[in-house]
């Protein structure tokens, strides 16, 4: 195994394109575990943390561009980003211990492609766009189009997720992410729900995105969940409807962390509670 730490995106892409068995190293909180467990055996590891653009948060067109290798701790300390996208920050900060937060990144969480990745439903709900760099230049795709199955992504040879664009937020927009775990923290989501909604001046919901994690092979983005909120004042009836359609959209498996039936039920509860938090935040803006 070879280790390289290029300082430019071009060099990183060239390295990744040069080796069929190359892996990107961001925070390493998944990669090193997989190396140790021998579940992967790469011939090349490309550490992207020396590339400035992957480590910074910058303003762009009224929104934010967040480098894919920005850590949970760093994003949590970014007051401006946190005030605009508290749900995204909460989701990222739910991952692991203080020690893990010092290293774990959103790019890594997305590309590790665990169905239970906490930051992914929150990014999807926020409408975040992944900017992918590769041998043929860069391309932008919605975050929900990156993972294609557990441990698999749509990235082609030589490509890496370089950054995320969180577009300018409409006034009166709030986001939230909640997950269910059987303990207070340091666990893997049994169910996760991200909600982002926008209200007009009269308090009616004019835009909504709902994403559900850990209840299918991929984070789900059920339109009917967003539709349950659209045009409503996010009142009791809308929340009840959201809960119902979110549960109906869930396609979970049985495993040691939760049964299928339990997950289906909890999906509705998490979606509803996340929507209530997002609503309060939208009203506060």
């Amino acid at each position: 195994m070879r280790y390289e730490a290029p300082e430019t995106m071009e060099a990183a892409v060239a390295l990744l394109a040069s080796d069929d068995n190359a892996r990107v190293l961001a925070g390493g909180t998944d990669l090193l575990v997989q190396l140790r467990a021998d579940t992967i055996d790469p011939s090349l590891v490309v550490d992207v943390k020396k590339i400035d653009a992957m480590r910074t948060v910058t303003a762009e067109d009224g929104g934010f561009r967040v480098g894919a290798a920005v850590t949970g701790a760093e994003l949590g300390e970014h007051e401006e980003f946190k005030s605009v996208w508290p749900g995204v920050v909460e989701a990222l900060e739910l991952i692991g211990s203080t020690q893990i937060q010092s290293r774990a990144t959103m790019g890594g969480n997305l590309c590790n492609a665990s169905p239970a990745a906490d930051s992914v439903p929150a990014m999807i709900a926020a409408g975040a766009i992944a900017t992918i760099e590769g041998p043929n230049g860069s391309r932008d795709i919605p975050v929900e189009d990156v993972a294609t199955g557990p441990g698999r992504t749509s990235l082609r040879k030589g490509e890496l997720v370089a950054s995320f664009l969180f577009p300018e937020q409409a006034p009166r927009t709030g986001d939230a992410y909640l997950r269910f775990i059987p303990r207070t923290e340091m666990d893997i989501a049994v169910v996760g729900a991200g909600v982002c909604l926008t209200l007009d001046e009269s308090g009616l919901c004019t835009a909504a995105r709902v994403s559900l994690g850990a209840v299918a092979a991929l984070a789900l983005v059920p339109d009917e969940a967003a539709d349950a909120l659209m045009g409503t004042s996010v009142d009791e009836a809308a929340l009840a409807r959201l809960s119902e359609v979110a549960s109906a959209a869930a396609k979970p498996i049985d495993d040691k962390r939760g049964t299928k039936e339990f997950r289906i039920q909890v999906t509705g509860v998490m979606a509803r509670r996340a929507a209530e938090i997002a609503l309060a935040r939208a009203k506060g803006k």
């Binding site: 280790y3 390493g28 550490d47 850590t71 010092s102 290293r103 340091m186």
Partner: protein, 158 residues
């Protein structure tokens, strides 16, 4: 096999080491630099026994490649006492009997020091959450938490 020449600062001293890409920072600290205070509990980021500071951030050294440590500043448990003078946290851990087998103790001390540096007056809940990544199979945590909170009070001059 490729070996990487790495220069870093460990507890204020410049060090150079050769490491293989398969070696973690924890392996390097223990096997190459013979700083065996940092412990391996799980080697998978779950237990915190391997906690060190890396460029001012608390990390699990088992989740950092040795080769990644180039030009970094690393602080380990060995840098905590000043000569014979224990750090206040170390003294309080003794006073409170906040350890039994001691295997988790270096990691907990490094993690607790990091907490007090950023939050000199932490609440109990904040302390428990901050240290949640440091597992202890012996003490039941309570003595550890009390030792950390009392150290914080002492360091604030209360």
């Amino acid at each position: 096999m490729a070996r990487y020449h790495v220069s870093a600062t460990v507890n204020g001293d410049e060090v150079d080491f050769l490491c293989e890409p398969e070696q973690t920072l924890l392996d390097v600290l223990r096997d190459e630099l013979h700083l065996t205070g940092t412990k391996e509990g799980c080697a998978s980021g779950d237990c915190g026994a391997c906690s060190v500071m890396l460029d001012g951030r608390l990390v699990c050294s088992c989740l950092v490649m040795g080769a990644e440590a180039g030009d970094c500043s690393i602080e380990t448990i060995e840098g905590m006492a000043e000569g014979e003078r224990l750090h206040p946290l170390q003294q309080k851990f003794l006073d409170y009997a906040a350890l039994q087998c001691g295997y988790c103790t270096p990691g907990l001390l490094v993690a607790a020091k990091a907490l007090l540096e950023r939050s000199p007056d932490p609440t109990e809940i904040e302390t428990r959450y901050w240290l949640a990544g440091n597992l202890c199979r012996c003490t039941g945590y309570d003595k550890i938490i009390r030792a950390v909170l009392d150290t914080a009070a002492e360091m604030r001059g209360e």
